[in-house]
Symmetry: none
Subunit: 255 residues, 2 copies
DNA sequence: GCGGCTAGCCTGTATATACAGGTGGGGCGG
DNA sequence: CCGCCCCACCTGTATATACAGGCTAGCCGC
C-alpha cells in the first residue's frame, strides 16, 4: 500500500489535516463531548496515512486537552470546561479554539482614561496618568464566558489602542512588544455586580471567579486586568511542573 | 543495529527516560537557558534508541515549553522558563499565625472509609480500597475560615489517623513521611451546600472558593482534599517566582 | 579576495512494521 | 446457565527507513 508519501509541500501536513478535521467536527457539533472519535486504524483507512501519523494527530489533541484516550477503549471528546492554567498566561481565545469552539469578542469600551488611585497603584504610575483601558466580553460559541477589564501601561505598549483587535488579539500584540517575564494572579469567589451579571447573562446569586492579574515585562508593569468567569462551570487549574497528574473528577462531582 | 527493542516493561519508557535526563540537567544547571541540547542523532547514539523516539522526547519537551527547536539549527533550552512556585502548599494554620491570630481546628470527623469512585480515582487506588478521611473546620480567632475535607492514601502515610492532630498538624506529619514533590489545584467559585454553609456560618447565597487539591510524593498520590473558603474575604495568590510584585489593592476595591 | 555552489548536519514529516497490554464480547465447556 | 478463556479491537511504545527543506562552513573558480 505504497501511496502519496509526501504531502507535496504547500498543502497542510497530514497530521494537521487530521487534527483540523476533528476540530471542525467538534466545532460543528457533529462530535459532542463524550463522543467516541475515530480510532487510529479508522483514520488510517479514511486518510490513507500510516498509523503513526494518525497516532500523532490524536496524541497531540490529547495533549491539548481536546481528547481523552484510554488503551483498549478508544478516543473520546473531552468534557467541556475552561481550564485556565494559572501557571501560564494563556489567551482565552486560544483556549476556546483549542477546544474546537468558536471565539468572538464583543468590545464594550476602548479608550484612554486617567488612572484612579487603584489603577495607578497597580500599574505603578502616578495618580491621574493616562492609561489605556478596554472592556471586552469573550464569547465561546456565542455564549459569554469571560468579562475582561484591562488597563495597559502606555509607556510600555503605546500602540495598544490603535491595533485592530479583530485581526490581532490584544494578547498577541502585547506578547510581541513586551514579552511577559512575571505575573501575579489573585483569585476570589464573588457575587458579580450588575454590570458583570448583564455581560455574562447570569442570575442574581450566581457565584463568579474573579481573577486580578498583573503582568510585568522586565521591571515595568505592562497590564493589570480583572477577569470574571461564571461560577462552578469553569475552573482554574494550577499544577506543579514536575508532577504529571492525569485529570480526574473533582470529589463530589459525578463522574 | 538491532538491539534492546522493548523497555522490558517495568522500566520507564525510553522517551520518558530521555525527557527526564534533559529535565534533570536543566534542574542541576548543567543546561542553561539558551544552551544547545543534544541533537536527535546524538541522543540516538547516547541512548541506543531510534531517531523517532529521540524526536518524540524533544518534541514533547518543546510542547511543554522547556525547549525551542528550529530546523537546520538545533534544539535549545527555552529562554525564560517562567518557573512558577504557585499557590504553594501552605498550611492554613501557619498563615493564620503569621497574621498574628489564633488558630483552632474543630475536628468534625476522622476515620477509615472505603474509597468511592471519585476518591479512588483521585488517589489512584482501586474502588473500595480503604482510605483515611478527615473533615476539619479551621478557625481564625474563633471564626470559621476553612472547611477541609481530606482523604489520605494509607499506603503512603499509614499512621495518619493515629497522630495527635493537636500536637502535630496533619500537614506537618505528611510533609515528614512523604515530602510533596508535585501538586495540583483546581479552583472554582461555587454556592456552598448546606453542610459547608453551616460549618462556615454563611448566609444562603454567599459565594465560596472551592479548591480541589491533590499532592504527590514521587509517583504516589498522597492526599486529595476539598477546601472551602468563604467568598470574597479570602483570596488565593499566585505569582511567578521571578517578579517581586508588591501587594496593591484589587481594582474596584477601596483602598 | 569574493561570490556562489556543495556537502553535511539538523529538524520536520511520513511510512511500514512490531510487540505490549487493556478491554470487552462471544463461544465453549462444565 | 454460568463461568472461563480466547480472540478481536484499541491504544502505547518502539524500530528502521526515507525524503523534504533550513542552515552553515568550506571549497573552488573567477
Amino acid at each position: 500500500m505504497t501511496k502519496a508519501v509526501k504531502p507535496t509541500a504547500g498543502e497542510a501536513r497530514h497530521y494537521i489535516r487530521i487534527k483540523e478535521q476533528i476540530l471542525a467536527e467538534i466545532a460543528e457539533g457533529k462530535l459532542q463531548p463524550g463522543d467516541r472519535v475515530s480510532s487510529e486504524s479508522e483514520l488510517v483507512a479514511a486518510f490513507g496515512v500510516s498509523r503513526m501519523t494518525a497516532n500523532r494527530a490524536l496524541r497531540e489533541l490529547m495533549f491539548e486537552g481536546v481528547l481523552k484516550r484510554s488503551a483498549g477503549i478508544g478516543t473520546f471528546v473531552s468534557p467541556k470546561h475552561l481550564d485556565v492554567d494559572l501557571l501560564q498566561i494563556r489567551n482565552i481565545a486560544d483556549e476556546i479554539l483549542e477546544r474546537g469552539h468558536k471565539h468572538k469578542a464583543a468590545i464594550v469600551a476602548v479608550g484612554l482614561m486617567k488612572a484612579d488611585a487603584n489603577v495607578a497603584d497597580a500599574l505603578e504610575l502616578t495618580l491621574g496618568a493616562e492609561v489605556m483601558h478596554s472592556l471586552i466580553v469573550h464569547m465561546e460559541n456565542d455564549q459569554p464566558i469571560q468579562v475582561e477589564e484591562r488597563y495597559v501601561n502606555p509607556l510600555v505598549a503605546p500602540d495598544y489602542l490603535s491595533t485592530d483587535f479583530h485581526s490581532m488579539t490584544p494578547h498577541e500584540y502585547l506578547t510581541k512588544v513586551a514579552p511577559i517575564t512575571a505575573f501575579e494572579h489573585i483569585v476570589q469567589a464573588v457575587k458579580p455586580d450588575t454590570a458583570v451579571r448583564k455581560y455574562l447573562g447570569l442570575k442574581n446569586d450566581y457565584p463568579c471567579l474573579r481573577v486580578f492579574r498583573r503582568t510585568w515585562s522586565g521591571e515595568a508593569v505592562v497590564t493589570c486586568a480583572l477577569l470574571y468567569y461564571p461560577g462552578a462551570q469553569y475552573r482554574l487549574e494550577a499544577r506543579s511542573t514536575k508532577g504529571p497528574p492525569k485529570p480526574v473528577a473533582i470529589l463530589g462531582e459525578k463522574k
